[in-house]
Symmetry: C2
Subunit: 109 residues, 2 copies
């Protein structure tokens, strides 16, 4: 999983794992992903209705390109924004899920 910079789904991981462990079960994949996620070794990201998994442990945001479907890691939400949330809405932010949908640089002439 670390060998890729994509943000794989459980199903993708299941299929990759089958190459080396032919009779691995999908339940095992989900169970282990959940454990890794709970321990903070990976991150679970909600991409619409399905879950993707991210080896990038640092808090970060995503750009999703609507042309090629790429999901790109970026850093946008910072302490400044956290402070604004705190001041303006009296809300203590623990975690942020931000995905920006648009067009990536590959498709701009």
């Amino acid at each position: 999983m670390e060998s890729t910079n994509i943000h794989p789904t459980a199903d993708w991981i299941f299929n990759q794992a089958k190459i080396n462990i032919p009779n691995i079960s999908l339940g095992t994949v989900y169970r282990n992903l959940k454990q890794l996620s709970d321990e903070g070794d990976i991150r679970t990201i909600h991409d619409g209705a399905i879950a993707r998994y991210d080896c990038n442990k640092d808090r970060h945001d995503h750009l999703r390109c609507k042309v090629c479907g790429d999901l790109i890691d970026v850093q946008l939400f910072d302490d400044d924004l956290r402070k604004i949330v705190k001041k303006k809405y009296k809300f203590e932010a623990d975690d942020v899920e931000m995905t920006i949908i648009g067009t990536c640089k590959k498709h701009t002439k």
Copy 2:
């Protein structure tokens, strides 16, 4: 649906609708929500694995309180951030899905 400031699920709407239209079908609810969403009359928000619907048509973000579960409408992503995304990542932002998870002011002494 407009009578509430919550962010209802399809199921909640279905149950509310049944009060007045006892034999309404869940498919009808989904179909009409999809249509309204496509036309831009409501917004679909992805809350984890399930979809919620929002009458607030203006682009906005959400704060989700992990204590009481409240989903609060806020305005955080602005043109400044859009410009940063454009400049830093050469990414043309069309839409943003941002949910900040934390603790709302109701639970801070």
